[in-house]
């Protein structure tokens, strides 16, 4: 029902129609954001706070200076990858909500493989490459397993990926507090730190780490894969109707498992960057909820890999601004949760407007149902 909306515009449309569609895709979310702002202002007025203060602080904290913008981008880095991890399986009709587990396990695997590599003094770029690879493989296997169980054993992928996610966290905790614990990590059990020399730094001229760039590159690559290749076409067709795809002779099982593996790779890569750019080791802080935020980001981006990027940045900005709001207005952290909740609900509700605003419809008739 949902997956076919965004990407499957028939290519026979004239450029003019494409422009209209694009304008609609910009207009609807903007209206939704405006409505959310109005609703949230009402909430603020009821509890006796000033909406003007609030939104000017959100602007300052999210986008108001180059510092704020960099913060927003940095915070969005894991979210882009997590969003992709949900969006890709969604295109083939799967609801995978276990990216969190693949992220955690991928990050853990990267930190674990780094221990011998760093000990033997393998050059940093090669170490990163191996860490990233093992993280992606681990994540890919983890989500791929959910896809495999779905297709070959008939196990519902939503529940299995959620369960696998809890199990992944238990595995990580078991090793981090047991066999692979760095004895020096006294009060915060962690694996051996990779050390400053092996930390991935920031993109030159910024404070934003390389995970952000990787996210953008992957988003573009996956957009091309899903929209411009036979693989993507077959996957979308399977997402639209599995039986029809099977009747056409498409390798449905392979497609499903592949999409899941891609998703797991994205999540695992996010875990790698958390370890290599942020923590320098694996510990319980890897469990930060990025995987779950990614689900909403993907939905708001209508499972379009390119759209995941701006939506993730918006989320990053809200998170960055949330801190400023807390500090300046003395409001609890839950304020941002309420705002996010309102934005989600309104944005998703606005989906119903697509195709119903006359202004954006092609002049000759319409494909109303």
């Amino acid at each position: 029902m949902s997956a076919e909306t965004a990407g499957s515009i028939p290519s026979t449309h004239t450029p003019n129609v494409r422009m209209l569609k694009f304008a609609e895709a910009l207009f609807v979310p903007l209206v939704a954001l405006l409505v959310s702002a109005v609703l949230f202002s009402l909430f603020l007025l009821i509890i006796g706070k000033s909406p003007v203060d609030f939104f000017s602080l959100v602007w300052t904290g999210g986008f108001g200076s180059s510092f704020s913008i960099q913060q927003s981008l940095q915070r969005s880095a894991p979210l882009i990858l997590a969003g992709l991890a949900f969006a890709i399986p969604a295109r083939i009709g799967l609801t995978i909500i276990g990216a969190e587990g693949a992220l955690v396990l991928g990050g853990f695997a990267a930190a674990a493989i780094a221990i011998p590599l760093v000990t033997f003094g393998i050059p940093a770029p090669l170490t990163w490459l191996l860490m990233a690879l093992i993280a992606m493989v681990t994540g890919g296997v983890w989500i791929g397993l959910a896809g495999w169980l779905r297709h070959y054993r008939g196990v519902n992928e939503t529940i299995s990926s959620l369960l696998l996610s809890y199990i992944a966290i238990a595995i990580m905790n078991f090793f981090v507090e047991g066999a692979l614990r760095d004895p020096a990590s006294a009060n915060k059990p962690s694996t051996m730190p990779i050390g400053d020399a092996y930390r991935i730094g920031s993109i030159p001229g910024t404070d934003v780490h390389w995970g952000f760039a990787a996210g953008i590159v992957l988003a573009i690559a996956l957009y091309i894969l899903m929209s411009r290749t036979t693989f993507g076409f077959a996957a979308r067709m399977t997402g639209g109707n599995v039986r029809a795809a099977q009747a056409q002779g498409l390798p449905v099982g392979l497609l499903i498992v592949s999409c899941c593996v891609i998703a797991g790779c994205c999540a695992g890569l996010a875990g790698f960057f958390e370890v290599a750019a942020i923590h320098g080791q694996a510990n319980a802080s890897l469990v930060a909820g990025y995987g779950f935020t990614g689900i909403l980001i993907a939905f708001l981006a209508r499972h379009n890999p390119l759209a995941v990027v701006p939506v993730a940045i918006l989320f990053g900005a809200i998170a960055a601004a949330g801190g400023l709001v807390q500090r300046r207005m003395g409001m609890p952290d839950a304020t941002v949760l309420v705002l996010q909740g309102i934005i989600f609900v309104v944005l998703l509700t606005s989906d119903t407007l697509y195709g119903r605003l006359k202004f954006f419809q092609p002049p000759v008739g319409g494909d109303r149902t």
């Binding site: 008939g154 696998l164 199990i167 952290d333 309420v338 609900v345």
Partner: protein, 305 residues
């Protein structure tokens, strides 16, 4: 050693009775919603909001049962919100569910701040095990009335699905919207009502958390129980009675970790604590391809296509 096994078994029995009730209510609510052909992943939000509202109202009124009612009311509102939004064309029910989860927990955390510290009146339990003469067995058999309400509800739902006009309408709406429409049934209305009542049940489940077990309100109270309960419905194959078994199994498995530590089996407690998840996964894999698995899923569900 026999004694240890006995202790663990009693703990599992007690855990099943103590921990299962919120799972039961959320799962039954979700079962009703999904039977009508819609999925509401957001019942975690109803659960958390229900827990907060129940505690707050019990604190102010001094009567925990009013708190339970209020929790049902708050869940009802969130459920109705979900039901209404998903009625609109092109709106994805799974996504709206996750959005409502975020909204519900946000509201609960925001307004729940003043209730973390005070002590509110809790629900009482019925001592059913005093005849055993064994203190821990008697304790395990302290049962909250909501536990029985949940079981009764499951029996009632199961009977109603099979034998009443209403049950038939809900099932038909879930299996094929087209044929329901052909019979003159308003699909949107049926789903709206099913989602609303489902939301209410989840809210009541929340009141059990804050007013009975563990019997406290704070932000970490639920730790994902609502999400897991939604998953249990798929595990239970949309059968209210099996939802009860699933909830009991999950509650019992949750008691394994702490009770094994209490009898001295302490190695690898992370895995024992993850036992409910591991067990559920294995049972799902083992039973997935059994006959009729596909037949039992409501045909209209977007999650089982």
């Amino acid at each position: 050693m026999d004694n240890s096994i006995f202790i663990v078994l009693i703990a599992m029995l007690g855990g099943a009775i103590r921990v299962s009730t919120p799972f039961m209510f959320v799962a039954l609510g979700e079962c009703l919603t999904e039977k009508s052909g819609r999925i509401n992943l957001g019942l975690e939000g109803n659960l958390v909001l229900g827990a907060m509202v129940a505690y707050a109202i019990s604190f102010h009124t001094g009567n925990p049962w009013i708190g339970v009612l209020a929790a049902g009311g708050s869940g009802l509102i969130l459920g109705a919100l979900h039901g209404y939004i998903c009625k609109l064309p092109k709106v994805n029910d799974i996504a709206v569910g996750i959005a409502i989860m975020s909204f519900g927990t946000g509201v609960a955390f925001f307004f729940g701040k003043p209730y973390i510290q005070p002590s509110a009146p809790r629900l009482n339990s019925i001592p059913l095990g005093d005849w055993t003469g064994n203190a821990s067995l008697a304790q395990a058999l302290q049962v909250n009335p909501l536990f029985f309400v949940g079981i009764l509800l499951a029996v009632l739902m199961s009977w109603a699905f099979a034998n009443t006009r209403w049950g038939l309408i809900v099932r038909m709406t879930g299996d094929s919207a087209a044929s329901a429409r052909a019979m003159g049934v308003s699909v949107d209305l049926v789903r709206f009502i099913a989602t609303t009542i489902g939301g209410m049940l989840a809210g009541i489940g929340g009141s059990f958390l804050s007013l009975y077990y563990p019997g406290s309100w704070n932000q970490g109270l639920s730790s994902g129980q609502g999400l897991m309960a939604v998953a249990l419905v798929i595990f239970a194959r949309w059968d209210p009675i099996r939802c009860i078994w699933a909830a009991l199994l999950f509650g019992a498995a949750g008691a394994i970790g702490p009770s094994l530590q209490s009898v001295g089996i302490t190695q690898g407690y992370y895995f024992f604590n993850a036992a409910p998840y591991i067990l559920t996964l294995f049972i799902m894999i083992a039973s997935a391809r059994s006959k009729g698995a596909a037949r039992e899923a409501p045909g209209e569900l977007s999650i089982t296509k």
